[in-house]
Symmetry: C3
Amino acid sequence: MCSAPLPMDYDNPACRSILQRIRFTHPFVYGLTNYVAATLSANVLLAVGAAPAIGAAPGWASSFGAHAGAMWVNAAGLINCTAQDMIVAVTAANAHHVPWVLDPVAMGAGASEYDTIIHDLAMRGPAVIRGNASEVMALAGGAATARGVETTASITQALPLAAKLAQARGVIVAISGPEDHILAPDGQHIIIPGGHPMLTAVTGMGCALGGLVAAALAVTPSGNDRLLAVAAAHALYARAAEMAAPVAQGTASFATGFVDALSRLQNVTGEAASG
Amino acid sequence: MCSAPLPMDYDNPACRSILQRIRFTHPFVYGLTNYVAATLSANVLLAVGAAPAIGAAPGWASSFGAHAGAMWVNAAGLINCTAQDMIVAVTAANAHHVPWVLDPVAMGAGASEYDTIIHDLAMRGPAVIRGNASEVMALAGGAATARGVETTASITQALPLAAKLAQARGVIVAISGPEDHILAPDGQHIIIPGGHPMLTAVTGMGCALGGLVAAALAVTPSGNDRLLAVAAAHALYARAAEMAAPVAQGTASFATGFVDALSRLQNVTGEAASG
Amino acid sequence: MCSAPLPMDYDNPACRSILQRIRFTHPFVYGLTNYVAATLSANVLLAVGAAPAIGAAPGWASSFGAHAGAMWVNAAGLINCTAQDMIVAVTAANAHHVPWVLDPVAMGAGASEYDTIIHDLAMRGPAVIRGNASEVMALAGGAATARGVETTASITQALPLAAKLAQARGVIVAISGPEDHILAPDGQHIIIPGGHPMLTAVTGMGCALGGLVAAALAVTPSGNDRLLAVAAAHALYARAAEMAAPVAQGTASFATGFVDALSRLQNVTGEAASG
């Protein structure tokens, strides 16, 4: 049922092909996310050539949810929009076959009213669920182990529950951590090695990855290719972090270098390192 | 009726004079804008010496709208305040002769409820309307051509409608693009060449320009000089972008360099390039 | 009653001990703050090793207010949450002996409805009140001297009222300015020299300091040590600013260098300057 995990990184042609399609087609990607992460999320998407719009102004959830190439819903967006806004957006997306990503930020941290909203959203057919180990475990029905937006669980703890969640709901589940794991409903399992611990020292990095996953979905028409698309977004992230870390003077210049690296990454081998 | 367009850049004494007055008088500039662009907008204003306040806390719209030197209303601010907040703010501004800028972000992108709010605001007497080609066309009654917050129209398409809008409403209309165009009700037309395409790869750059235009209005008491003030804000932007682009390593360091450049620009010739 | 002010800087062992405890225990710090300053605030906290969560998603105020190590309430957070959210959070914090910081941003700037909410919050038992001279004066019942979020008063003007406020309410009062002053209810008075004027040219720097003060409280179990904890947070800030200023190219690279410096500061003498 579970095949051996397959490693993937940015040098994989599938990953480069996803980036190329984002750069060439500028997909419109709509997000409901929180104001702490919104600016970084938009800049990450612009850096790879996508066209993001964020937030629930009057009429946006139904209109942009229907007409975007893909959408991401970050649960902590509930600090600046209502659960109803999110339901309107995912209903519109579903009606128009727009794939969407659910990020269960801070699930399992003790706010039961909040967790209930995320459980409800998770039943509405996301294409991808992306979070850290604690969040995915909480959504999969495991113990609540989060502390605010931080995980206190390990990926090893989360993997069995995540695989069950993927199978039971027919959803791709992505867990971010020291290495990222992407699990498909049929048991396929991709590992993204690399990245850098400094990604956890910059606010919104996980949240912005949800937006990048949505951009990858937006350029991947076939449902069968979505697993690779999700893995490609994670591989892009890992490579950009590896490019930024050696020259960073601290966490803020790491963030700058990370977005710079995303904006420099090209679809052709060898261009990545050029300024 | 329409005179030939007049080019203007940062080396124009009128532009330097505007910057000098902002740096010396620290005008209080109040903004209702969206949380994606709010931080950059405040930092752009602080970089030139203005004193920004952003958002609709209880009592702020009526009080700050009345007492600011100028105000900007960014329609995407509706992701974090109500249409009523905006109406209260512009009503207070109008009652106290505080000039204000309307930025019709994402107008014409398909959300009719949202577009209706912007149409209503546009009837309430902004001193300036500033947007990209699609947004200005949509507001002027042309075809809806936006895709989220991105334009899909060219400035050439937008100019005739923008000129009509300026004349019909007695408002200055500024269109951002590969070169910026500023149109006055009496047919005057200023072009700002230069700038840099990377401005479109950083979220909130257009939104923050609305704030800078407001700062320029705040130090321009005579209505007759407003056209130059609006042009000066655009010229400052273009010059800062030209200073930042050659040393940028990507889109994020471009944004850093851009705000750095704004903070270094001085009113005296020759100081611009010094660190 | 008032002892002579005692200077303190980052080289003070008490300051380094606070930083060490934050880095080793990763305190969960919860904030209700405004979207202009939220991202910087989270990044400042992450840079020193704390675990921030920000905003009032459903259930967060009561749950995170109760379970955080400390909390900060920034009055300008009323641009994105309700007064009731703040009251719920401080009530939960008080019930669980979670110390919290009140930042009366823009108090005294003319919005009486807003000022009334802050007065009410100030009566609910904050451990620390932190603001600029105008804000502290307004909260202490002095003249309203703010202009938006900017102070127009000097620290000299604010000190007598601040000392009275500290004594009357049993609260530590911290005033930010060219040098920072920390006043205890019993008359103790600490001065933090240094820092850099560029701190006032980056939006959210004062707001983020409120979060750092909360992080220092979170690792300071004894109420008796809170004065040192508050001073330590200010001293960390001043040192990071002094490290960032000489290499900044302008206000934005100053902000980047400032957070970088915070992330590099160590608890052991001599490591501060190493990259």
